[in-house]
């Protein structure tokens, strides 16, 4: 398992006075091998920060990242290098994640060179194999990023992530920058690779249709905190957190029959950021139709279960005697 435990991260900003609200506030999640776990939420909610901590690009202020039970933060030098190889990342913008002055073949071979794996001829064969694995020909190896399409670049980045034979891949919005017709190609590729190698994916996305179709479990993130987590089927069919439901309702579904009633008055924009929100309140409080006094006074804490929610008045009520799966 790749487990994130109670991660907290606060960015220092120049503008804010006093302690800033954490960008990531107590996030815990676990990815099992062969499973796709999705982290969904809107831009700026902290998804990418979680991704960067999970691959070790950022150090959490507190919390642990456990790989097969071992804490990454306590590791140094060689040991860390070897462990790092097991968790790789694919970024959202394939154009930006490739060095414009490096051939894409060089980009895929680079991790092998860096970790001093094999000799030159082995590395060359290995690079070719990786190119084939992601559906690219050896012809493409000598090209520069700007000579490839967006989908091809994303394939290169997937090959690069695979080169160190990781067990987990963090996919940070892997198809958001791609056209819909290419999106399916990349998702199919990722699924095939997962089936073949038994990789665990942490899929980070704001696209709920994609998550719905490829993940088995999902956690919903809102302003740095997880508000709900559960099997995708469950969360989508019976969202328990008011924010989750709002999010699901907002997805534009490609079916005009499901078009909502046209509004009869201009839909108002809610006040931007209720800066006043206190750390010990529910952060959705200002937008929540169910908000009550308790919501402003106490931060809702989840009761861990297979499908859990952090809300004082969730949409599905749990039976009092429901023990849920053991923690």
């Amino acid at each position: 398992m790749l487990v994130c435990e109670d991660l907290v991260k606060t960015y220092r900003t120049r503008r804010s006075v006093g302690p800033a609200r954490p960008a990531v506030d107590g996030v815990s999640l676990g990815v099992a091998p062969g499973e796709t776990f999705a982290l969904v939420g809107e831009s700026g909610c902290g998804k990418t920060t979680v991704a960067r901590m999970a691959v070790g690009l950022l150090r959490p202020a507190s919390g642990r990242i456990l790989l097969e039970g071992r804490d990454l933060a306590r590791m140094r030098g060689r040991e860390l290098m070897t462990l790092r190889r097991q968790v790789q990342i694919v970024f959202q913008d394939p154009a930006g994640a490739l060095d414009p002055r490096q051939t894409v073949g060089g980009a895929v071979a680079e991790p092998l060179l860096l970790h001093r794996l094999g000799g030159p001829s082995w590395r060359r064969r290995e690079t070719e194999r990786l190119f084939r694995q992601v559906g690219l020909g050896p012809r493409e190896m000598g090209r520069f990023p700007h000579q490839l399409s967006g989908g091809q670049k994303q394939r290169v980045l997937i090959a690069r992530a695979l080169s160190l034979r990781p067990r987990y891949i963090i996919l940070d919005e892997p198809v958001s920058a791609l056209d819909v017709s290419v999106r399916a190609q990349i998702l199919n590729l990722l699924a095939a690779i997962q089936a073949e190698l038994g990789l665990g994916y942490l899929l980070i996305s704001h696209d709920l249709a994609v998550v719905r179709n490829v993940a088995s479990r999902a956690a919903v993130m809102h302003r740095g905190r997880l508000v709900e987590e559960g099997p995708v089927e469950e969360v989508w069919s019976r969202p328990a957190h008011p924010y989750t439901r709002a999010l699901l309702k907002a997805i534009p579904v490609p079916d005009p029959a499901l078009r909502p009633e046209p509004p009869s008055s201009p839909p108002p924009e809610p006040e931007a950021d209720p800066v006043g929100a206190r750390a010990d309140s529910c952060l959705y409080e200002s937008l929540c139709p169910r908000s009550a006094r308790l919501c402003r006074r106490r931060r809702p804490r989840p009761e861990r279960a297979d499908h859990w929610v952090a809300c004082h008045y969730p949409l599905i009520l749990r039976r009092r005697d429901d023990p849920g799966p053991p923690r």
């Binding site: 809107e42 017709s181 190609q185 998702l187 069919s237 969202p239 534009p252 579904v253 046209p262 509004p263």
Partner: protein, 355 residues
């Protein structure tokens, strides 16, 4: 039949490039009616933005250039108009909203001043500007508009910025609004509100709205009619209901399958093979044929390009074999029943929405 406000006929525009002319708009025709929304959908590089810019003659020249066609605004051809007259047409008759709300606003000017600028340039002098500005902001659903006047763009959220831009665009009562991917940079919840706002304003003010998007979900939510653009041409035009029920062009079908994330028998998502062609070097024949599953069985597709054909009321399609499925592969984009191992997203959403 409602009268057309704007008719675009066989519009052509190209960009000069090192590899020769890029025919970004290659014979595009459509019309807009008051109070109705036409969605122009297509993937990036299909020429949607170039079309949007060519209509009010805003295409950057060089490298861009309109090379032919007509843009009839209430019967008057904008392309024939004296360039000096265009600024009056833009704004007062045709307004635009762009994708990036952040870069479309001047960062060192207050919101109030920016809206006032638009109000002033298009209004008889002497009117109460401040009241008009507040009214414009309120109409765009900006909460507490009086408070916003002195704020700067960076103090606003993305959704509010886009609303300010809508307020600016509508301040002088245009009859046509061109919105190029107005919600692409926004989060889904914000997007839903902006789309609702556009739909509301469109009906309320009798605007003819050209909504450019790559998202068929947005189309289904907002538009009455849809035009699918591929490699510089509109390959299918249809009323929204018909289009989502029975799209006829293989590319439209592919797009819809992709948007609905339908799967084939093996559980893989259905894909459109290949990638968008290079507009400086288009394939001969039907420009979709290198990617078209039907074309593999039909020699005609590589021959002369298919003309636009009537396929029903308000439904035209540019394809020799409209509605045909490749052998051994039924079109599954419409499946409401579970397709593949999981139920289609649409169905689940309808359930959750009904909670």
């Amino acid at each position: 039949m409602v009268e057309d406000v704007l008719r675009v006929i066989d519009l052509r525009a190209e960009f000069r490039s090192a590899r020769g002319p890029v025919k970004a708009v290659d014979g595009v025709s459509f019309s807009l009616q008051p109070g109705r929304t036409l969605a122009l959908v297509g993937e990036s590089g299909s020429g949607k933005s170039a079309t949007a810019l060519a209509i009010p003659r805003l295409l950057p020249d060089p490298p861009g250039r309109v090379t032919g066609g007509q843009v009839l605004l209430r019967g008057r051809d904008l392309l024939e108009l004296d360039p000096d007259e265009m600024p009056r047409v833009r704004g007062r008759e045709i307004a635009m909203v762009f994708q990036e709300p952040a870069s479309a606003l001047n960062p060192v000017m207050t919101v109030g001043d920016q809206v006032a600028e638009s109000v002033r340039t298009h209004r008889r002098p002497g009117g109460p500007v401040r009241a008009a500005v507040i009214e414009a902001l309120a109409r765009a659903g900006v909460p507490a508009p009086e408070k916003r006047l002195r704020q700067y763009p960076h103090e606003l959220s993305g959704g509010l910025k886009q609303r300010v831009l809508i307020a600016i665009a509508l301040a002088c009562g245009p009859s046509v609004l061109i919105a190029d991917e107005p919600t692409t940079a926004l989060d889904v919840t914000v997007q839903a509100r902006i789309l609702d706002l556009l739909a509301y304003l469109g009906r309320r003010l009798g605007l003819a709205l050209l909504l450019i998007t790559h998202d068929l979900g947005v189309v289904a939510r907002t538009a009455e009619r849809v035009a699918v653009m591929y490699a510089g041409r509109v390959v299918e035009t249809a009323p929204v209901g018909r289009f989502f029920r029975s799209p006829l062009h293989p590319y439209s079908r592919g797009l819809l399958e992709a948007a609905r994330m339908t799967r084939d028998d093996t559980g893989s998502f259905r894909v459109i093979d290949g990638a968008v062609p290079d507009l400086a070097d288009l394939p001969s024949g039907c420009r979709f044929h290198p990617r078209c599953a039907v074309a593999r069985l039909r020699a005609a597709c590589a021959g002369p390009p298919p003309p636009a054909r009537e396929a029903g009321p308000g439904h035209t399609v540019e394809c020799w074999y409209p509605g045909e499925a490749a052998v051994g592969r039924a079109w599954a984009g419409c499946a409401r029943a579970p397709a593949g191992p999981r139920p289609a997203a649409a169905e689940v959403n309808s359930r959750s929405a009904g909670l």
